[in-house]
C-alpha cells in the first residue's frame, strides 16, 4: 500500500510539473514576443510603440533567462496567482474561482441526474437480460451515448425555452437555469452509466454470493438492494468521478450554448481572445483537478476493494 501511495504521489507531482511547464510555455510557442501580444490585446493598433514594448518587457521581466521566468511563474502559480487577465485586467484568480464553482454545480447536477436514471435502468436491464426490456434499454443507452450535446442542447432550447417557455434559454441566475444544460449534459454519461450498471449487475446476479443470499431466504429485491447495488457501485463510482473530472473544463460546448459562466466557457473565450494568463490559470486548474480527482478515486478504490492493492495495478 505504501509503495502504491508513493508511486501515485510521484506520478502526480511529475504530471503537474510537466503540465506547468507546458502552460508556462504557451506564450513562447506562438509567433511574436509576449510584450507585443499583451499590448496588442490591450490596444487595437497593429503599429506598436517600440518604447512601450521595451518598457513592458522590463516591467514583466521578460528579458530574463527562461528558467528564471519559469521558476518565478511557478512560485506564484502554486499560490494560485496567475497574474492579471490581458483583456479585463482583473486577477486570473478572481475569474477562475467563481467559474469553477459554476462548473462544479453544473457537472454534479448533470451527473446526479444521469445516475438517478441509469441505476434503475441498468439494474432493470440486467435482471431482464436478453429480453425485450434489455434490448430496449441497450438501444436507448447506445442512442444517448451517440447524441452530441451541441445537437440536443439547441433543440432543448427551441422546445422548452422558445416554444413552451418553461425554462430560460441561457444564463445563470438561479436553480431553474441549471435544468436544460444539465439535461443536455447528462445524456452521454447516462448511456455509459446505464451500460456499466448493467454489466456490473449482470456479474452480481451470476455470482455465488447472490445465489447464497437467495438461498438463505432473502427476497429477490432485498438481495438485489443489499448485494447487487453495493457491489455494482464501485465501477459506477469510478466512471462517475472520471466524468466529474472531465466535465470541470470539458463542458465547453454546453456552457457556450447556454451562456453559462463556467470553466469551459472561460477557457474558450480566453483562447479566442488569446488571453494567455487566463488560459494558463484555467488550464492548470482544470488539469490539476482532473489528475487529483482521478488519483483520489484510485486510492478510494484501493481502500474499498483490498484485492486491488495486492494485484499489480494496470
Amino acid at each position: 500500500m505504501v509503495s502504491f501511495l508513493i508511486r501515485r504521489a510521484a506520478t502526480l507531482v511529475v504530471t503537474l510539473l510537466v503540465v506547468s511547464v507546458l502552460a508556462f510555455l504557451i506564450p513562447y510557442a506562438g509567433k511574436g514576443d509576449t510584450a507585443r501580444k499583451i499590448l496588442r490585446a490591450r490596444v487595437n493598433d497593429p503599429a506598436l510603440d517600440p518604447a512601450q514594448v521595451e518598457a513592458l518587457t522590463k516591467e514583466l521581466g521578460l528579458d530574463r533567462p527562461l528558467y528564471q521566468q519559469y521558476l518565478d511563474w511557478l512560485s506564484h502559480a502554486v499560490r494560485g496567482d496567475f497574474g492579471f487577465s490581458y483583456t479585463s485586467r482583473t486577477p486570473v484568480h478572481d475569474l477562475v474561482i467563481p467559474a469553477l464553482g459554476v462548473s462544479i454545480s453544473l457537472a454534479l447536477a448533470a451527473l446526479l441526474l444521469a445516475l438517478v436514471f441509469a441505476l434503475p435502468l441498468g439494474t432493470w436491464a440486467a435482471t431482464a437480460r436478453g429480453g425485450k426490456v434489455d434490448n430496449a434499454i441497450t438501444f436507448v443507452s447506445q442512442s444517448s451515448v451517440s447524441a452530441p450535446e451541441y445537437w440536443i442542447g439547441p433543440v432543448l432550447v427551441l422546445i422548452f425555452a422558445r416554444y413552451l417557455g418553461w425554462f430560460p434559454s441561457g444564463g445563470w441566475d438561479g436553480p431553474i437555469y441549471i435544468v436544460l444544460p444539465a439535461v443536455a449534459l447528462s445524456l452521454r454519461p447516462l448511456g455509459y452509466f446505464t451500460q456499466v450498471t448493467r454489466a456490473a449487475m449482470s456479474d452480481v446476479l451470476g455470482a455465488p454470493y447472490f445465489t447464497a443470499a437467495r438461498s438463505r431466504g432473502l427476497s429477490y429485491r432485498h438481495s438485489l438492494a443489499r448485494h447487487g447495488l453495493r457491489n455494482s457501485m464501485l465501477p459506477v463510482m469510478t466512471l462517475f468521478s472520471f466524468w466529474f473530472a472531465g466535465l470541470l473544463g470539458g463542458s465547453v460546448v454546453v456552457e457556450v450554448i447556454f451562456n453559462i459562466p463556467g470553466m469551459g466557457r472561460l477557457l474558450y473565450t480566453s483562447v479566442l481572445n488569446n488571453d494567455v494568463p487566463v488560459i494558463q490559470g484555467a488550464m492548470m486548474w482544470i488539469l490539476t483537478l482532473a489528475v487529483l480527482i482521478n488519483t483520489a478515486t484510485d486510492l478510494l478504490y484501493g481502500v474499498l476493494n483490498p484485492s486491488i492493492r495486492v494485484a499489480s495495478h494496470a
Binding site: I26, R129, E149, P154, L158, A199, G206, G246, G250, A314
Partner: protein, 328 residues
Amino acid sequence: MPRTLTRPEQQPGQPPQRPTSLRSATPHRPNVLSMMVRGARGRPWTFSIGCAMLALILLILLLTPWIAPHDPATQDLTNRLAGPSPEHWLGTDHLGRDVLSRLMWGGRFSVTIAAITLVICGVTGIVIGALAARRGGWLDELVMRTVDVLICFPDVVIALFLIAVFGTGYGTLIAALTITGWTPFARLMRGLALEINAKDYVEAAEILGSPKSYIVFRHVIPNAIRPVLAMGFLRFGHKLITVGALSYLGLGVQPPDSDWGAMLLDAQPYMERAPFLGILPGFAIFVTALSVTMIGQGLDVRKIRRKRALAPEPPPGVQTQLEVGEAV
C-alpha cells in the same frame, strides 16, 4: 430473439469439447475481413442494423461527387431558408445553399477527420501497449503512468490548449484528438498482450529464438485484433462527436470547408425560423455515431460470450465491455 449459440460443438450449459492445450499452442489468426463478412451470427440485432446503417452512410459519402443534387457552395440569396421542395429536398440554408448537398459534402470532412485520427490513435496505442507488455520494466511503468494521466484529461481542453498555441487547422485538429486518444487503445492492448504473452505459442516462438518485435507483430497484435477493433468502432463515434464539437465552437474545420459541426454552428441564429437546419446535421452525427456504437458493442459481445462459454458456469446472455467515454 433467439439467443442460441450457433457453433455446433458448443452445447448450452456444457463446457465445449475442445482440447484447450492444443488450441493454445496453435496461433489463432482471425481474418478481420471474413470476420466482418461472416456477419451477425450470434450477435445482437443492433449489430446488423449498425452495419447496414454505416454501409449506407459510407456509400452515400463515397458517391457524393456524383449523386449530390447541387453544388454545396452555390448561393441563391433569393431562396434563403426555404423548406423542402422538389428542387431542394431538405431545403436551403441562410445563404440559399442546398442543405442535402452540404450534408453530404460536410459528412465527408467529419467522417474522414474522425477516421484519420482514429487510425493514428489505434496504431499508436496498439504498438505502444504491445511493446510495453512485452518489454515490461521501466518502459511499462512509464507508459502506464502516462496513460493514467493523459486518459483523464478532457480532450476538448487539450484541443483548446493546442489551438491557443498553434492556431486552428487540420494539423492542430488531428493532433489535439490524438494526444489523449491513443491511451485507451494502449491500455486495452497492454492487458490483452499480457494474456497472450502467457500463451504456449508465444513461448514456442521464444524458444525458437524469434526476436521480441517479431513476436509482438506476428503473434500478439493479430490475436488481440477483435477487442481492439470493437474499441475502434466505439471510439469512432466519440471522435466524430468531438470533431463536431470543435467545429461547432468555430475551432475545427474552417471555412470555406464545412462539416456537420460547422453546419450546426451556421444554423444557430436561424433555429426558430428554420429548425430543420439546426437539427439535420446533428442528426447525421447522431446516426453515424449510433451505427458505429452498435457495431462496436456487437463485436464485443462475441468475445465475452465465448469466454463465458469456456467458463465452468456459463451464465446466459451477454455483457458489454465498455470503454469509458470522455466529456465533450
